[in-house]
Subunit: 333 residues, 4 copies
Amino acid sequence: MPIPARVLDPPFNITRTSHVVLEASDLAASRRFYTEVIGLVVTLESDEALYLRGVEEACHHSIVLRRASGAPACQRLGLRVFTERDLERAGETLARLGSEVRAVEVAHQGRTLHITDPFGFRLELCAHMPVEPRHITRFRGQRGGSALRIDHFQLLTPRLNEALAFYMGLGFSLTEYIAKDDEHIRAVFLQRKGNPHDIVLFAGDGPRLHHVAFTAPDAQCLLRACDVAGEIGFGRQVERGPGRHGPGHAMFVYFRDPDGHRVELFTTHYQVIDLENAPIRWDPDDPAVAYPWGLPAQRRWYEQATPMADTSIAPALPRPNPMTLERFLAERS
Amino acid sequence: MPIPARVLDPPFNITRTSHVVLEASDLAASRRFYTEVIGLVVTLESDEALYLRGVEEACHHSIVLRRASGAPACQRLGLRVFTERDLERAGETLARLGSEVRAVEVAHQGRTLHITDPFGFRLELCAHMPVEPRHITRFRGQRGGSALRIDHFQLLTPRLNEALAFYMGLGFSLTEYIAKDDEHIRAVFLQRKGNPHDIVLFAGDGPRLHHVAFTAPDAQCLLRACDVAGEIGFGRQVERGPGRHGPGHAMFVYFRDPDGHRVELFTTHYQVIDLENAPIRWDPDDPAVAYPWGLPAQRRWYEQATPMADTSIAPALPRPNPMTLERFLAERS
Amino acid sequence: MPIPARVLDPPFNITRTSHVVLEASDLAASRRFYTEVIGLVVTLESDEALYLRGVEEACHHSIVLRRASGAPACQRLGLRVFTERDLERAGETLARLGSEVRAVEVAHQGRTLHITDPFGFRLELCAHMPVEPRHITRFRGQRGGSALRIDHFQLLTPRLNEALAFYMGLGFSLTEYIAKDDEHIRAVFLQRKGNPHDIVLFAGDGPRLHHVAFTAPDAQCLLRACDVAGEIGFGRQVERGPGRHGPGHAMFVYFRDPDGHRVELFTTHYQVIDLENAPIRWDPDDPAVAYPWGLPAQRRWYEQATPMADTSIAPALPRPNPMTLERFLAERS
Amino acid sequence: MPIPARVLDPPFNITRTSHVVLEASDLAASRRFYTEVIGLVVTLESDEALYLRGVEEACHHSIVLRRASGAPACQRLGLRVFTERDLERAGETLARLGSEVRAVEVAHQGRTLHITDPFGFRLELCAHMPVEPRHITRFRGQRGGSALRIDHFQLLTPRLNEALAFYMGLGFSLTEYIAKDDEHIRAVFLQRKGNPHDIVLFAGDGPRLHHVAFTAPDAQCLLRACDVAGEIGFGRQVERGPGRHGPGHAMFVYFRDPDGHRVELFTTHYQVIDLENAPIRWDPDDPAVAYPWGLPAQRRWYEQATPMADTSIAPALPRPNPMTLERFLAERS
């Protein structure tokens, strides 16, 4: 499949990744993890839900954790559209494209549409949220990684090519991709807000949420998040890193939250607004893509992910076969 | 004057601050300053001009220094529009609004319009530039402040209210402003690209360019830029800071280049895309606006600025009377 | 006066700068300043005294603040000797050299000698303190500058040459000094613990304590201390910096505590143990000594200091005439 | 075996870890690694040897690499004594204790003794070296990890208890140790210069050099060293970390040089001079000792080390059985 052309005048204006709604079995443990290690700010909490936002965010929430029993799933992937008019057009367009679209009332955000995309991802679109003061200069309250704002989702789907075409049709721009050639794509990095990603799609069993990513102010914050994790009993939740990405160029670290949801903290993304930036292709066999230095990610980083609520998972064929830490160590000895 | 309403569907799409063209008396000295202290990358150089870009920038240039004799002026303030179609509409719209518009050939950038806005600022609009590899992961070559990308201009004009209305009419969004009340505005912070500023306007003798600002990766880079400045004979060019801004919340440092042009390096801007973010008003009499800690800026920071080439300067009335370092020290002793 | 020779086998072993005892008019304000801005840890507090130590310190205190009315003075400058036997020898030696020596009981430290040196500095020597857990890996509790440990005192005396000879006679090593030539010394940097300073002496009205200095983990901590100062109402207490020293090479920032006592946070000192390191002379007329970049210190940084309790102050002749910020600004305009 | 008592008045004064002499098969590759990644400064180079020192070091060398064919070994572990008189006493004392002692001429250092200690470690003692300017404020020349100075050696020996007694008899102070109880010691951290280590001894096949460690200015330098390693083809030489130590509390990263010699960069050591600091015991079964967060070290970090030149290696009994990365991954799956 050739890479689709960029759509300059999409049917509606998605502005950015907005928020994620995750299920949690123990809100107190989640609160501790997200505030102390990741460094998010609590906007609101109840027995049933915890609303968090980044240090610089004014919007009401970028993560919502809802108390649930059973295997914790992802309830919704939130995207923002620019205006209420864009929201209307989104509903019309996506329904026409065959997605299930439903207008719903959701507490603490404006008029909202629930949409299940053709690949099973449960989206949630809105144009407004209540605002709160930004904590960017409340230096004393900053904790752990001082996560500034939500940046992107990484999603797994067995239907990568179709998903790429679908999201580019909605106006997403492809910044980078991992592919042996344009027929054999493993991963695509798609953006709306002018930096490398809002949605990253990897070929894999899905639909699943691989991780949600927050921007941190600098690399020291990544290390401080790890140190605090070790201090308060989350040391084994540091799953990968700190390390450096190939695509996107970011310095990163990955954590697993108390329910196993994966969270990335990263720095150093670049601005990419201009049309002359052609998508950058990375060779999946080049170790510098996955680990420019140090060791590859352990197998569970590749294989484990959060399912969408009430959604069955289809296998990816052929099976991805990345260089895992386990294989790396075995092959070398 | 009430703050104008935000224009959601502007006549053409300005995407961001793009570049600045400055005159320089000694290109070798300028090269040394911009590469070693600020940390920019040389894209191209000749006897007549030096083209520089930030460490993460792919576009050909974000500063152009042109050899000139006489008092060094600012030749052009560059803005990007999204598409060639936007460029056409820009020309039509601005001509209709009474600006002088001229299609020109400019080396190393796409089709370009030269526009003098109603306040005397010499703009330059284009939709394309040649691209070069980003240096973001060329760690060994990073120098001084490792300036990542151009972020904004700060401009001085005696006609602040009119300029605010003009630029908001072109789709700029007001994020913050300094004003005793909405009738007495001293400064406005305007953006297109989703962070606090692309163009900052202060009331003052003008039209003049107060400074051009580049984003740095973290606060240590600001300090390293100062240290390198001291090491190579530019120690007296550190004019203000490191310090913390009120509006925009950034950590900053200001340098004067070898011709006296002012350059800011800063970190920690926030993302501001959503419509629910109302402009934030700052009280000009609150010291936390100008110096949340430490000492105020010296008088020359307030008073000196780069003129527009071939453009006369009109005085601002009433004269701004900010708390300068000189006044602060005198009043306290 | 030629620089005295280093004494390799001193009569007793002073190991390091240990602590300082300062008077405070409002212990609650002092607590807030030292814990939130400087980042010290409270070991013990009462209505009468506040005992603080650095994040990595195990000893009971490196600053003691004692409630006092009247102009706040410095009660004691604490030095550590290695063993109890060294303490005995210290008493004998200093008494023989004409200092007043008195054995005293001091809470929360071992056997203690009160000594007034020939220049009026009120010293306090001991070989032991109770120990507390180091907080070095209690990351969550770290605040402001995360001050790690006390490093040195800077003292003012009109009898600099004599004081240099006296302290070198006790085994202090001269690492750096500021002098037009060896006859006209303005400042000396003396150490025992293997880094550039334990005691710094400047020519000036004295005996007075110019500042006490704490080591911070890195330059970002200096900036965070400033930011927190601004946040909690101590923004005007940032008196100088952040900046870079000539002698000692440190990155620094100076604060005034709520009683006006001056505290330095700094990074980047070097190790200096070996005998082959000859003292380094700095030319007082070289601006790089006092401000390698940026602006000079304001006059009050040079002129104001904490008196020793119950001790009269003698003027330095000739008067020091350093380049102050006030003079710098006046001469340039 | 009970922990030996600290010797306060040792027969001679060892002041610090001084330098290491390693064999290298390709000096150009070593130069590239040590200057670009670790950030050392070249003092002198020839076809036969490369002399390097840290950014803040004045002494002529802290690593010497000598060209050699065959399996690269460690020729000498350098220690400094304070005075020439200490050097004489060192020779007398060590000969009396049964070590082989030989006075030798060594280029670029003062009078030198070659000593093989009872455990087969090839030591080299001297009291002087030529001095060079410190590069601490040559900011432009700083590379990679900006290694400041040599800090310590980590050594492997099957005779750990005896080696502990021997080195404490020479005046080394035990700061921390890893032991199930005082009879079953796995590792000891010994110091002379007032921070946690100069010599670290682990039970293991030996005598071997596990690593030489350099202090870096801050945690960002550790990450920059990794990034540069990845950039210039040494990405697979990042063997462990960045991570956090239990004992010593340091943030660390370990590299293998082009010949497989292991080098640590670390930050955040504490000062430990006072006698009241009792040795801290760590439980070897507590994961927080070896990996407070993240993953354990791979097996080769535990098992591979540099032999002493011309010295046979004796096995440690019982075999150490630490939690390796390989075992950790296997046990969890």
